[in-house]
Amino acid sequence: MTTAAKARVLITLRPDILDVQGQTIQASLKSLGFKSVKSIRVGKLIEIESDEDVDAMTKALLVNPIIEDFKVEVL
């Protein structure tokens, strides 16, 4: 079995975008006793094994630039 290049795409919400998932998690943590959480933002981690152009994949489908930023880490 041949292996291909590995990359990690980290997708985060742009800082000015309201993150309701993060807020909901923050509220749940508060009810568990973690009362001083300043902020929680939830993103996505996509691990890709491929020799094709991962940057092109992010632009074609993986990321919506209206609300998301991303970073590609080549492993």
Partner: protein, 226 residues
């Protein structure tokens, strides 16, 4: 003269939508699978129905927006053909960049299912030509990701160019919809060269028969054929 209802993997409002076109509007209506390359030769209007296409995985509507049929839908829309995207269909139109902006999770992060009051600032225009300007109507909504968001420039342009078709009546102090946080209370917007594209989160096909609660929705479905 066929109304084409596009079916994506895990669309689920396709049959209800076709039912209303066939039995209430009384129009010829066909399903078109997402991987077709062309619309029917006699296509009169295209409808992207509601559902959870591709499980809403990655982002709602993101993968459906890239299926082969969407190239034909985009060409049809650019040529002035009537296109209506209902709920998931609205999300798909935004992801396909046929309409600006994006639908995000409701501000309270819950799925909301209720009948809401809407206004028609787009009344008299496009698919809302059978409605009066600023008419109050009631339509059901059922969504988790109905909060319309666009950058300030796009919101300004939508307002200035009268492309806001439907708004939720109840808004908060920031002018966002109380029911899901939608910017400017936007429930639906027009697009295309002649407002021939309408994307909306409410379900007009679920409010087209008196026995099911009301008929405020049927006029916009009828307008796709006239």
């Amino acid at each position: 003269m066929t109304v084409a209802v596009i079916r994506f993997s895990a669309s689920n409002c396709d049959r209800d939508t076709r039912y209303v076109f066939e039995h209430v509007v009384q129009a010829k209506c066909d399903f078109v699978w997402q991987d077709e390359n062309e619309l029917p030769a006699d296509v009169r209007a295209v409808v992207l129905p509601g559902g959870f296409s591709f499980g809403d995985y990655l982002r709602a509507g993101a993968m459906a927006a890239h299926r082969p049929i969407m190239k034909a839908v985009k060409r049809f829309a650019e040529g002035g053909g009537p296109v209506m995207g209902i709920c998931n269909g609205f999300q798909i139109l935004c992801e396909a960049q046929i309409l600006p902006g994006i639908l995000m999770p409701n501000h309270h992060n819950r799925f909301v299912c209720s009948t809401v009051e809407l206004k028609t600032p787009g009344g008299g225009l496009g698919a809302l030509k059978n409605y009066a300007p600023d008419e109050t109507i009631k339509l059901p909504i059922a969504h988790h990701d109905g909060r319309y968001y666009a950058n300030d420039d796009d919101l300004m342009r939508l307002t200035r160019d009268q492309m806001i078709a439907l708004t939720y009546v109840d808004k908060d102090e920031h002018n966002n919809a109380k029911v899901n946080g939608s910017a400017l209370g936007i429930a639906g917007i027009f697009g295309g060269p002649t407002r021939n594209v309408l994307g909306l989160m409410p379900h007009p096909e679920r409010r087209s028969e008196l026995c099911l609660g009301g008929t405020d929705g049927v006029r916009m479905l009828q307008s796709l054929l006239s």
